[in-house]
């Protein structure tokens, strides 16, 4: 499949278009096309806010509520991140999307030798509850929801988020955290996995089960087609793997004796936006429909609102180029436009300098302004699902649905997604696709302004976020101080209880909350899991 294919004749007229997911696009669409794909208004479209939610989950779309703006933010020490969070909120951002550094994501403390050179680099460094107390200082956690971009140790961060909320006097039942908490996608792309598949999925089950009563407004899992697509998957593969992964988490919680309607309404998705605008819109509309149908038909979900595909539609790191970086501002705007035309609940954009490093305040605010401008200046809130009924959009939405189902069938055929991730089958499909895409880009088959057309010689660096290492030193110093000041006996006691609970196969969440409150570190809690679970052995390499 590789890239979208455009065939032209000798006069440069386009004679055929095939989108990345394999859908052919014709020069013109009419009622006969809808008939050809078997389109039915009631079954395929229905009213907005009605099953199967193709037109969005709210009857009035963005009229009743604009999308949440949630730029990915966090770097250096908790102090520095807190400052940046407050800056973004003061500029009108309506939710947080917290970036953690790699040691935190991989369950290492800042003073661990494995953390060397990485502390505070790509996100903020968190070692203990004390750091969360600094990071979320003066932020109203009952008003501002927080996405926590962490997966392998998401259970620990969610426990810590509850602990910090309680410490600040907020009611855990009213706070809204969205830990990413999708380990299967980490194994397919992005790579921040620690534990083997089975215990890793079980930890996710623990967070979902625990949230039902303890944090009912929290979205305990955010299934990320986003990173799967960043790793090379086509839009159809992105959605198909995301739905199958979500089903794996549902199955884990069902085994514990819950009714699917108890918990599935809090699932959320993180999906990617870059590339062909029509393909993106069709993808999101088809995804909403397929997710709802999957829940209703496969799992017998009863309540309509539990069938909503809610999510962050984010654009779209892999679409950006290092060449002519300012062009990425325009790319971001078009990606956000695609997301808004498709009825996103939350949008975040990669900033124009992210092909180089994490964003500066300047570039992050430009992304936020892009989202605000679309919201308030050009009429995207006027009416719900404005592309509905277009012969073209409805036809390719149906075709996209079929493509997604075909990709799902491929995975089911080899034993399902858990199996396919364990053996590396999915990873190979994705990396093969990535290679084909790259070849398409390098041959010029996929046109990219500044990269293979309209180029301008040597690319110039823009003003970049600086990493100096000073933050790392400060963080290690404050960790040292924490280790001196905390009650060691309490730390040991809570860690021991965590270990016993883990070995006994109990839900670890209440034990993690106690560890956090005793100021046990992320590294210490993760160590318990590493000892009990072991580590994931990466399969079939490329």
């Amino acid at each position: 499949m590789g890239v979208a294919k455009y065939t032209k004749d000798e006069k440069d007229r386009i004679t055929d278009v095939t989108l990345q997911s394999g859908i052919h696009v014709k020069a013109c669409y009419g009622p006969e096309d809808l008939e050809h794909v078997g389109f039915s208004y009631e079954k395929d479209l229905a009213e907005p806010g009605q099953y199967p939610f193709t037109r969005g989950i709210h009857a009035e779309g963005f009229r009743s509520r604009a999308w949440t703006t949630r730029q990915y933010t966090g770097f250096g020490t908790p102090e520095e991140s807190n400052e940046r969070f407050k800056l973004m909120i003061s500029h009108g951002q309506t939710g947080l999307n917290v970036a953690f550094d790699l040691p935190t994501q991989m369950g290492y403390d800042s003073d661990d030798p494995m953390a060397e050179g990485e502390v505070g680099r790509v996100g903020m460094a968190i070692d203990s509850l004390r750091d969360f107390e600094i990071a979320f200082k003066d932020i109203n956690l009952e008003k501002i929801g927080s996405g926590l971009t962490i997966n392998a140790v998401a259970s620990i961060m969610l426990a810590m988020y509850q602990a910090v909320a309680e410490k600040f006097g907020f009611d855990p039942k009213k706070i809204s955290a969205t830990p990413q908490n999708d380990i299967l996608k980490e194994m397919i792309g992005r790579g921040s996995w620690i534990f083997p598949v089975e215990p890793a999925v079980n930890l996710i089950g623990d967070t979902i089960e625990y949230s039902i009563n303890a944090m009912p407004r929290t979205n305990p899992v955010s299934i990320c087609g986003y990173h799967i697509r960043e790793s090379g998957a086509t839009p159809a593969q992105e959605i198909s793997y995301a739905i199958l992964i979500a089903n794996a988490y549902i199955d884990n919680v069902l085994k514990r004796g819950y009714d699917v309607d108890d918990f599935v309404g809090r699932f959320s998705f993180n999906l990617n936006v870059f590339g062909n605008i029509w393909e993106q819109v069709a993808k999101f509309r088809a995804a909403r429909k397929l997710w709802a149908r999957n829940l209703k038909e496969k799992y017998g979900v009863k309540k309509d609102s539990n069938m909503y595909l809610r999510g962050l539609f984010g654009g779209g790191g892999y679409g950006l180029t290092k060449a002519q970086p300012e062009n990425n501002i325009m790319r971001g705007a078009y990606y956000a436009l695609s997301a808004a035309l498709a009825g996103a609940q939350t949008i975040a954009l990669c900033s124009y300098d992210e092909a180089y490093t994490i964003p500066t305040p300047h570039s992050a605010i430009i992304s936020l302004r892009t989202l605000q401008l679309l919201m308030d200046e050009i009429g995207l809130r006027d009416t719900v699902d404005p592309l509905a009924g277009s012969y073209f959009i409805e036809t390719i939405t149906k075709e996209m649905e079929t493509k997604i189902e075909e990709e799902m069938a491929k995975i089911e055929k080899v034993g399902g997604i858990v199996q396919a991730v364990g053996t590396g089958y999915v990873q190979r499909l994705v990396s093969q696709q990535a290679y084909e895409y790259e070849k398409g880009l390098q041959s010029g088959e996929l046109k990219k302004v500044g990269l293979n057309i309209h180029t301008e010689g040597e690319p110039m660096d823009v003003e970049l976020h600086e990493y100096t290492g000073e933050s790392a030193e400060k963080q290690m110093e404050s960790l040292k101080q924490l280790r001196r000041e905390r009650n060691d006996r309490e730390v040991l006691r809570t860690l021991k209880e965590l270990e016993e609970a883990t070995r006994a196969g109990k839900n670890v969440m209440p034990y993690l909350v106690e560890c956090c409150k005793a100021y046990a570190t992320v590294g210490e809690m993760t160590r318990v899991f590493r000892d009990v679970f072991g580590e994931f052995q990466e399969p079939g390499l490329f």
């Binding site: 990485e118 992005r190 092909a355 490093t357 990396s431 790259e438």
Partner: protein, 133 residues
């Protein structure tokens, strides 16, 4: 003349898990006729050196996306010297700002290939500069 293919270790040092680039380049170098070994994720510099020795590769290629390319390259070059394998060519790829390229070369990276470098350029460079041991 030695006709065996160039043997290259594509390595992912450190905690960064973004391996699209590493895998894509591994595919491309394989297609260009090289023997490619991929370390998998989360390898320490020591582990990479050990694999390079065991597999007796001609080239070590580091793929780094987190921004830690300078400290990691520095450490790897030092370790390679200590282990007496500094005859192996070291190349670096990933998310690398242009301003860091001279520094990486000074540290001992023979070639630096920021994201988006054409496969033909990477393979061509390695073919021309790798010394088979």
């Amino acid at each position: 003349m030695d006709t065996r293919p160039i043997k290259i270790l594509v390595a992912k040092p450190g905690l960064d898990g973004h391996d699209r680039g590493a895998k894509v380049v591994a595919h491309a170098l394989k297609e260009a006729g090289m023997e490619v070994i991929y370390t998998g994720l989360h390898k320490t510099v020591d582990q990479i050196i050990r694999i390079a020795i065991q597999e007796d590769v001609d080239v070590i290629g580091l793929s780094i996306m987190s921004g830690a390319h300078i400290p990691i390259t520095e450490k790897l070059v030092k370790k390679a010297r200590e282990e007496g394998i500094d005859d192996k060519m070291i190349v670096v790829g990933g998310v690398i700002p242009n301003r860091d390229i001279p520094k990486l070369k000074e540290l001992g990276a023979k070639g630096v290939f920021p994201g988006g470098t054409p496969f033909s350029e990477i393979a061509g460079f390695i073919n021309e500069n790798a010394k088979k041991s």
